[in-house]
Symmetry: C2
Subunit: 160 residues, 2 copies
């Protein structure tokens, strides 16, 4: 049962994560001024794959427990927002809206972490690196905004 649950949650992670391949960083992103702590591009997919495994294990563990309603609801909420950031930031090139999305994602991951922790400490701990990474992502988004105020103020028109 654990492995079936793991596979379903992992597939959900991949469904959200595939946006990173579809809306990949290109010339627009390269031309932006980046904060000093910006990791090289290859770090992002590698980190996300590790996080996806942690998230799927946490989801599968919680799914097998009783009274898991809140934890399961937040797991679904965070994955819905997880898949939203890349299309907004790289697809729409909207730095400010990206900041809104990553902030909402941060809150949903924190709520998920707390709900999981109450249910199962291991599941909660498995969400800690995820929260750390989303904090870094939010700091990156904020740094890009601060260092490129003109670009942030004038996102290109949405694709039509």
């Amino acid at each position: 049962m654990f492995w079936l649950l793991f596979c379903i949650f992992f597939a959900a992670c991949l469904g959200a994560g595939i946006t990173g391949g579809l809306f990949a960083p290109g010339p627009w992103y390269r031309a932006l001024n980046k904060p000093w702590f910006t990791p090289p591009n290859w770090v992002f997919p590698v980190t996300w794959m590790v996080l996806y495994v942690c998230m799927a294990v946490a989801g599968a563990r919680a799914a097998m427990m009783e009274n898991n309603g809140i934890a399961m609801a937040f797991w679904a909420l965070q994955i819905a927002f997880n898949g939203l950031w890349t299309p907004v930031f790289f697809g729409l090139k909207n730095i400010r809206l990206g900041m809104v999305v990553v902030s909402l994602l941060w809150v949903t991951v924190l709520c998920g972490l707390l709900a999981l922790w109450q249910l199962d400490v291991i599941a909660g701990v498995l969400f800690v690196p995820y929260l750390v990474w989303v904090s870094i992502a939010a700091a990156l988004n904020a740094g890009v905004w601060r260092l490129n105020p003109e670009v942030a103020r004038n996102p290109p028109p949405a694709p039509s």
Copy 2:
């Protein structure tokens, strides 16, 4: 407890659904040949709001039950794929990849429906209109592909 769960699942639906506002149908979509059963544009957001309520009620009901693991995992999986179609179809304007996404979504909704039904007949029934609508969406995507073979073969380069 039910209403808290409902709100979290409904927020997840809105997180996926906001893509419909961010990547809205524009001149590209208007210029496509559409199948005869294509509804007018306003039907889509109205239908989705009704479906989101049904999906959130189904999720909240199942979340309060024991042995809900598989149903909760599929609820998370379907919402991850739900938010993917619009950025692929309207953002990337990739009709063929849109067909892949909507087909995967259809399978995850069916699996979710079956898992929910086993747990709680009402929750399962609440997913029936969702499956019907995704079937229509898949038929629309397929129809657009068939009627615009050149556009489908040559999607524009991804935004960079």
